[in-house]
């Protein structure tokens, strides 16, 4: 049932973590379990993970398909400060997915999401159940661009 047979020997790697000032662990534990349950190789950096630490993990796992960051405590903007620089400097090259509770307060508006996109976040999800589908899409897009750039043997 694999649509990408050339990937057989390389498990799909995802880097997971919670933003720098944030110690909310439960969703992080559960997302890691369930991605692993689906067969992903999850590099879970856990709670309180600064951008720098995500960048280091990218260096260590160059095949990672995405960096998936949770943030619940409302500090996501300050906590992801530097993400744009890490991307510009090529230290984080794979897509960055963010989810959780993305502003302080009970009355949410879209501006906090706009600010996140401006910081270098590529995708924002509200429900972790949407993660597998998004990872699949990202993977397909990457495979397509690899084909386009003549790097894939079909």
């Amino acid at each position: 049932m694999r649509t990408t047979p050339h990937q057989e020997s390389a498990p799909r790697t995802v880097i997971l973590g919670v933003a720098a000032s944030d110690s909310h662990a439960v969703a992080n534990h559960l997302i890691a379990y369930s991605l692993r349950g689906l067969g992903f190789d999850v590099v879970n950096l856990g709670t309180c993970t600064p951008v720098e630490e995500f960048a280091e993990a990218c260096a260590q796992y160059p095949d990672a398909e995405a960096v998936v960051i949770g943030s619940l405590n409302g500090h996501v903007h300050e906590d992801l400060r530097g993400l744009d620089r890490a991307k510009q400097s090529g230290r984080i090259t794979c897509p960055v997915v963010v989810g959780g509770n993305l502003s302080v307060g009970s009355h949410k508006d879209a501006s906090s999401l706009d600010r996140l996109y401006a910081t270098g976040v590529d995708h924002i999800l509200s429900d972790p159940a949407e993660l597998p589908a998004l990872l699949d899409e990202l993977r397909a897009a990457r495979d397509r661009s690899a084909v386009t750039s003549g790097m894939a043997a079909s």
């Binding site: 799909r12 879970n44 502003s103 307060g105 990872l135």
Partner: protein
């Protein structure tokens, strides 16, 4: 079987740097004697005195969580809460940069967008502003935070004349940081506790609340209480005179009441006589229902549990809990609603005494299993660190790599929190059997990974289910299946 998902070792603990601005700088801080004199001169009741008075009156003191970034906003918030809901004790909830000694980040956000802070950065604001707040209000204040190393924050708090301070070397480490060794946090909190002893010598008793809530989600009562006992023993040894043992409402009436009623028994059993101990309930700390009516039902229920459990104090939630930090109105409403449980008209509400007695017996025995081997050890902090490393102490869903989270909690058929897996917890065979029996009734003897994940998620979302709130959208089928036979090391985790 393990569901543990520890982050790789590596990123070390942050060493406390003094904040760049504010009055946190020790050079500018008043001495403990000066702070004690200031507190006395304030002429308001201390938190410890309020707790004593409430206990004497048979009233559960009520206290909000509340903290916003800006100073004027914080003053307005507290003044409104006091004017409209008259809580017995008020709170400064500290932002999570400050908690983690990220003083620069706290200060930057304060300067750029104070509303982006999830609490009041007291260190950045400094003790003079702390005093200004304190003097504005009739009720004493508590600092609620989550700092593995709270020494600077404590000094600023005391200088602000604040007489209650939450935390502990275990309970403010494992749920609140990833990479602070227990030895470090226990050491830092011993310092805090010793300073409380020093202040007591100057005539000011600081109420020290221990954060038995831990990771808040499905925390078994005996874990919460065992850790509080250990922290309480350390605090008492360091000179603390007033200890509030906080327990998080788990959702099962008899179990929660039993846990609260265990607190005086444990104090009697494990603490020296000169220490005052209060039981505190934290209104349900897990996933809150989303609909206002449901959230309010849970708030009232929690408050009734506090009353029935004989708690001295209740920390309240709001109907906005599921969404984010509440606005002032929601906070007022949460306090008022909780206070209804103090009604003199509710004396007729009783709890099943036999059920409570049975739960209490198990809780006390489990706590004994957990703490007694450690209390015998000469170096208690060292014993605690080792116990966590070996899984003889553990918490579920740890934020920190210094707890194993081999412990897997589940709810039994009646909704009480039990142990599906105890990891290396030194429980007697009888206890293990009881847990197993109670949980077999739920999932059968050997639940698979999917059953377990579903069950656990269901238990976490317990109150959303009770209220039949719509589930978040069903898991969509993935478009592309990832590698279909996971590597061996992962397979272990699936059985």
């Amino acid at each position: 079987m393990s569901l543990t998902s520890l982050p790789p070792l590596g990123a070390g603990a942050r060493t406390p740097r003094r904040p760049a601005e504010g009055d946190g700088n020790p050079a500018t801080l008043p001495t403990p004697a000066e702070s004690a004199a200031y507190i006395t001169s304030l002429g308001k009741l201390t938190a410890a005195e309020v707790l004593d008075r409430c206990r004497a009156q048979g009233r559960v003191a009520i206290q909000p969580r509340c903290g916003v970034g800006g100073h004027e906003e914080m003053k307005a918030l507290l003044a409104t809460l006091e004017a409209e809901a008259a809580p017995d004790i008020l709170t400064l909830t500290i932002d999570s940069h400050t908690r983690l000694l990220r003083f620069e980040e706290a200060l930057r956000t304060l300067n750029l967008r104070p509303a982006d802070l999830n609490g009041y950065p007291l260190v950045a604001h400094g003790w003079r502003r702390g005093r200004e707040i304190n003097e504005l209000l009739a009720a004493p204040l508590e600092i609620r935070h989550g700092s593995p190393d709270a020494r600077i924050l404590f000094d600023v708090s005391v200088a602000s004349g604040i007489t209650s301070f939450e935390g502990g070397g275990i309970s403010y480490n494992l749920p609140y940081s990833k990479a602070v060794p227990l030895a470090d946090s226990l050491g830092a909190w011993q310092d805090v506790d010793r300073r409380c002893g020093e202040l007591a010598d100057h005539g000011v008793v600081i109420d020290r609340e221990l954060f038995g809530t831990l990771t808040a989600v499905l925390v078994p009562p005996s874990i919460s209480l065992a850790i509080s006992v250990l922290e309480a023993v350390l605090a008492a040894r360091a000179g603390v005179r007033c200890i509030s043992v906080a327990y998080p409402q788990g959702g099962h009436l008899a179990q929660d009441v039993a846990a609260l009623r265990s607190i005086p028994v444990l104090a009697e059993r494990y603490l020296p006589a000169g220490v005052t101990v209060h039981a505190v309930l934290h209104e349900f700390m897990g996933v809150f229902p989303r609909e206002r009516a449901h959230a309010e039902d849970l708030i009232l229920y929690g408050a009734l549990v506090a009353r029935l459990g004989g708690a001295s104090k209740l920390i309240t939630k709001t109907h906005q809990e599921a969404y984010g930090i509440p606005d002032t109105a929601a906070n007022v409403e949460g306090l008022r609603l909780a206070d209804r449980a103090n009604s003199p008209l509710l004396d007729f509400i009783k709890v099943d005494q036999n059920q409570v007695a049975e739960e209490m017996e198990w809780i006390l025995a489990e706590v004994a299993d957990l703490v007694e081997p450690l209390l015998e050890r000469a170096d208690l902090p060292e014993a605690i660190g080792q116990a966590f490393a070996q899984g003889r102490l553990d918490i579920p869903f740890s934020a920190s790599r210094y707890a194993r989270s081999d412990l897997i909690p589940r709810r039994d058929a009646a909704g009480a929190i039990r142990y599906l897996s105890t990891g290396a917890l030194p429980f007697s065979a009888t206890h293990l059997r009881r847990n197993e029996e109670l949980l077999n009734a739920v999932d059968g003897p050997e639940p698979g990974f999917d059953t377990l994940m579903q069950g656990l998620t269901g238990d976490i979302n317990h109150f959303r289910h009770v209220f039949q709130e719509e589930e978040p959208a069903a898991k969509p089928r993935p478009l592309i299946r990832p590698h279909s036979h996971p590597r061996t090391q992962r397979t272990e985790e699936r059985t």
